[in-house]
Symmetry: C2
Subunit: 372 residues, 2 copies
């Protein structure tokens, strides 16, 4: 897995389209991962640098500033063939009853790992009850789903497949489909030592792929690790305000969030459009009502709209609401602009990979039934 510098929307950035850097990686099915094949081109001089390293992931530089946010470390992939299988399954529409919906439908890796919709579209165009959180850096969260009902990515991955409002399938039927596809049987055998497909293997492979979906090397991370020029004055002022006014109390750590459950509407109540009860739906405790997992702010410029009900269309709206409802503070337009400028420095290098080719169904593969 390699990463590509995202075309950023930062106010003070020098980034523009010509600086777009492609980073390429491929995985061969016997489990050997080409870690990096990074090609850099300078348009004028045609200077060409090519690196091929085949070892594990190089560690990102350790943090040198003592801040409540820490830089993201790229994951160490110990089983690249499992990651490659998980990537196929992440794009596998045949895990849905309709044959039309895959993990990537709602956690679109072309779009910040989200669908950029208020709430997602499920089987038969059902309207989902809650905003699809980004899959990017989700391995850093203390639990999965807005209410934390899944302890980890593996537990999460089985949920949407069998949810009648999402992929509307059953685990048993999904396994029947995969087991009937010779290309998958061979790949499960190669990865797990047995070609017998089961939901444990499926979700384990999907989770292994998702663990690689981290976004290191954002401008803010560069600043954290010592590059004074990585942030402009307005972005730094935004970060100072983010800290001083209290945002950082919940949005901290490597994921800038994702590590606690907090009540939505601390100072003033939030009028949610979603019926979701939050953490209370899991614990049954009344004090957990409207407590949600604090979302990561990594890549937040890509993961609009915001909040568990997707009701904030822009970052400016989200910052304004958070200030008033969580902190009891009415930010000025200038203050909001500064915080948003800071938030846009949290866009890191995006996972970039070849679109997987899925093995074809056999004659015995059960066919999808989208219109039943």
């Amino acid at each position: 897995m390699t990463y590509v510098k995202r075309l950023a929307g930062r106010e003070e950035s020098n980034a523009h389209i010509a600086s777009f850097r492609p980073s390429l990686s491929g995985v061969v099915a016997d489990g050997f991962l080409f870690k990096e094949c990074i090609m850099k081109v300078k348009a004028k001089g045609l200077a060409l640098a090519m690196t091929l390293s085949m070892a594990g992931t190089s560690a990102w530089a350790a943090a040198t500033r003592d801040e409540p946010i820490q830089p993201i470390t790229a994951p160490r992939t110990t089983h690249p063939a499992k990651v490659e299988l998980g990537k196929k399954l992440f794009f596998e529409t045949r895990l849905s009853k309709s044959g039309f919906i895959s993990c990537n439908s709602c956690h679109n890796l072309s779009m910040g790992g989200s669908d950029n919709l208020k709430t997602s579209i499920g089987d038969h165009w059902q309207q989902g009850p809650i905003n699809a959180p980004t899959v990017l850096n989700s391995s850093l969260a203390l639990a999965q789903f807005w209410d934390g009902r899944a302890p980890d990515l593996k537990a999460q991955a089985g949920g949407p497949i069998a949810n009648p409002g999402e992929m509307a399938f059953t685990h048993a039927l999904a396994i029947d489909v995969l087991q009937s596809i010779p290309g998958y049987v061979a790949e499960f055998k190669s990865v797990f030592g047995s070609g017998r497909v089961d939901i444990d293997k499926v979700t384990s492979a999907i989770a292994a792929f998702e663990e690689t979906l981290v976004t290191p090397d954002s401008p803010f991370d560069k600043w954290l690790t010592g590059d004074d020029k990585a942030l402009g004055a307005r972005e730094l002022a935004g970060y100072k305000l983010f800290k001083d006014s209290g945002c950082v109390a919940c949005h901290n750590g490597p994921a800038v969030g994702g590590n606690s459950f907090q009540k939505m509407g601390v100072v003033a109540p939030y009028q949610a459009t979603s019926p979701a009860g939050g953490r209370a739906d899991v614990t049954g405790k009344d004090e957990d009502r409207f407590k949600f997992k604090v979302p990561t702010l990594r890549n937040v410029e890509l993961t609009y709209p915001y909040f568990h009900d997707g009701e904030a269309a822009t970052l400016e709206q989200a910052v304004d609401v958070m200030g008033r409802l969580q902190l009891g503070r009415k930010y000025s337009e200038d203050e909001i602009g500064k915080i948003v400028a800071f938030l846009k420095t949290l866009t890191g290098d995006q996972p970039l990979f070849t679109l997987p080719l899925l093995p074809p169904s056999s004659n015995s593969t059960p066919r999808p039934t989208p219109f039943d």
Copy 2:
């Protein structure tokens, strides 16, 4: 654009999962295309061969056998930055009213450029009237759509965007969306010399990408160009039967079809489940009723189900129906098996590319309305 050897389902093939070959390519936004970065690994010896060629597409070997089917030639890409923009637009869900459906939804490049459904799913889960044809090698066809109502890929590309049963948008609204996204404006300016987005530029870029989606170097093409060992005895027997019994009368040329309109049901009538009238819907002529563009048989093992109404679930069924209705011949089970073995040799190297990253919407970008 580079190509990868598809994991084949051929009966006599030695191909298995360990021979899967990743081929990588990247395009930088200034228009410079890295044509090939092919890495081959032999698992045991760790032998490593890396090729980087930056010139145009290498020509495939010319046909050496005098046959009614000709090998596919890889396209010569003259404007790689336009191809790269077209690739983004092909994956762009914001070209649909819902923000959920892209070209790739129904012409899925992980699945042979098709959706593997009888008929496709459109906005609000509408059931499409006809089977989505593969986009692979579609540039070789004499016209686009089953009834040929679009003369070329550029004319086709605008259709689904504005079709109320498919992406359900309008060209004007789609252009408003793209024009509001700074990343697209910069890229249109880079490619076309002007950042003013219009439907002509959009469809031109999508067509440029689609023109690269050809699948050369199939086992049959290798045999055509002189490799006697590329086909097994049963596959060759299938090809001989394909020729001798008349299939080749319509399925010929480089695309093994796609170059004429023919009546579905020549010897006996076809009981279609689709209301489509075929070519008559375009010409208004009664003699064109139920005439459809002959589909390409390239990669046909990947593009199930078959026929314009998707009613043939397997290749065996399709061959049986074609024999009876088009040729007045009842193939034996053994004959069908041979023809199917030949058809599976038409699976070529699949286009392989990095999943594109789409530029984020701005605050002024109109939001999708999936549930209105």
